[in-house]
Symmetry: C2
Subunit: 239 residues, 2 copies
C-alpha cells in the first residue's frame, strides 16, 4: 500500500474543465490508460465499459463514473473510442507535457530507478541524480552523472525538475525533501519510511515496502489462525 499523506484531491474552487476528481479515481484512470494503450496496440478501436472494467479489475459502474470525470467521450449503444479516450485521460493526468524526474539517493533502489532511464512508460525522463557520497559524484549511472545533494536546489531549478524521488535512508529524507522543495519541486515520491513535512502546496506520495510486507504478514496470520491446517493441496483456481 501507499499511504496518502493528506487527503487533498482537488483544488478547492476551480472552474477547470472537470469537477473534483476523487484520488482513488485518479489512480484507476492511470490503470485504464495502460489497459487502453495495450488494447490499441492490439488493434482494438472500441471498448464497452463492461470490457474495460473487466480488464482493469473494477466494477463497470465505477469505471463509467471515473470516465465521467474526464468528460463524456463515449457513444451510447457502442462504447468508448479507445484512441479518443486515451487522449483525454492523458490530458486530464497532465501527461501531454513531460515531467522531468530527479532521483535522490543512489543506493540499491535509486540505482535501479536511475537505470530505468525513461522510467516506466515514457513521459517521465530522469534528468538528475543526487547522492551525499562524494565517491559517487560525477560517476554516470544509467548514462547520467551523479550530483551532490548540496546542489539539489540549483540543479533542480535549472533543469526544471517537477518530480523528486527520494530513495535515501530515513534519516536523510526530510533534509533532502526540504532541498527539493527549495529547488521548486512540488511533487515528491518518497520511498523512505518517514512522514515528510512539506508546505501545503507540495504533494507527497509514499511507497513503503516495509508496510506492504507487514500488511501481507497480517493477512497471512489471519488466514492461518482462522483455519486449521488445510486438508486440500493448493490448487490454482484461476478465474
Amino acid at each position: 500500500m501507499t499511504v496518502h499523506q493528506h487527503g487533498r484531491y482537488s483544488t478547492p474552487v476551480d472552474d477547470l474543465p472537470s469537477r473534483a476528481v476523487p484520488e482513488a479515481a485518479v489512480g484507476r484512470l492511470a490503470i485504464y490508460l495502460r489497459v487502453l494503450t495495450s488494447m490499441i496496440e492490439q488493434g482494438v478501436t472500441t471498448m464497452s465499459s463492461e470490457e474495460l472494467a473487466g480488464a482493469a479489475g473494477v466494477n463497470s459502474a465505477t469505471l463509467r463514473k471515473d470516465l465521467s470525470y474526464v468528460g463524456s467521450y463515449g457513444t451510447r449503444g457502442v462504447g468508448y473510442d479507445t484512441a479518443r479516450l486515451v487522449e483525454h485521460i492523458e490530458q486530464l493526468l497532465g501527461l501531454t507535457r513531460h515531467h522531468s524526474v530527479a532521483v535522490v539517493g543512489i543506493g540499491n533502489l535509486g540505482h535501479a530507478l536511475a537505470n530505468y532511464g525513461g522510467f516506466p512508460d515514457r513521459g517521465f525522463p530522469v534528468t538528475a541524480l543526487f547522492d551525499v557520497d562524494e565517491d559517487l559524484v560525477g560517476i554516470p549511472v544509467g548514462g547520467l552523472p551523479v550530483d551532490h545533494v548540496n546542489t539539489i536546489p540549483e540543479v533542480c531549478a535549472e533543469r526544471d525538475v517537477t518530480i523528486g524521488v527520494i530513495c535515501t535512508p530515513a534519516r536523510a529524507a526530510q533534509t533532502v525533501c526540504d532541498l527539493l522543495v527549495a529547488g521548486g519541486v512540488r511533487c515528491i515520491l518518497n520511498f523512505a519510511p518517514v512522514m515528510l513535512q512539506v508546505p501545503s502546496d507540495v504533494e507527497v506520495r509514499r511507497v513503503d515496502l516495509a508496510v506492504e510486507l507487514q500488511i501481507l504478514s497480517f493477512y497471512q496470520a489471519r488466514r492461518s489462525s482462522g483455519r486449521r491446517a488445510g486438508t486440500a493441496d493448493p490448487v490454482a483456481v484461476i478465474r
Copy 2:
C-alpha cells in the same frame, strides 16, 4: 499509490482475539510500530495517543481507534507503554514469526531488493531468487544464488516461502504468479503493471510506479492550470 486488488480486510466470521480490522488501519498500525520502535531506542517508555498520533501524522482519535483493534493496552491518565504496545502490534501483524520471501525477476528492481538481504526491518528474510535468464541462474545476488523460474513451485514449497515478490516485466507476471501459487505462496507483492488473477485465498498487493508518477502528474497539472505563473519564489514553509 498502491491499489488494493480486492477489498477483503477480514475473515468473514471469526472469533479471533480482535474484531475485523479495516485495511487502512492495518497500514497505519505498521507505521505506529515503526514510530514506537524508534522511540523505544531513544529510551521512551510511555507515549500518549496525542504524541504518537503526531509522530505518525494522523488524528489522535483515529489512532486510538486503531489501537483498540489490537486490544486495550493503554493506561488512562498515563498513555501507552511503548514496549507492551509494540509487542501486541507485532502479534496482530503476525510479525512474531518470520516470513520467508522469494524475489522473482532479477532485473534492476529485483537486484535492488535482493541486495537488501534482510529486507526493510527484519522478519522478512529473502530465501529464494528466480529469473528466466539462464545466464543468471546459479549466480549469487546478495549472497543467494538465482534459481530458474521453472523451479519456483518446488523451491518455494521446500523453503516454505510465504511472500512472493514479482519484479518481472508485465507479460511474465501472471505466469510467475501462477507458479508461486502452485508453490503454496499465498501472499504476493506485485511490482509489475498488471492486475493479477489469483484464487480468492491469495492476497495480492500492487506497487505501481507508473501509476504513482501519473497521479503526481495529475496534481501538478491541476496546480499549474489553476494558478497562473506564481509571483513568489519557492519558500519552504515547514510546519
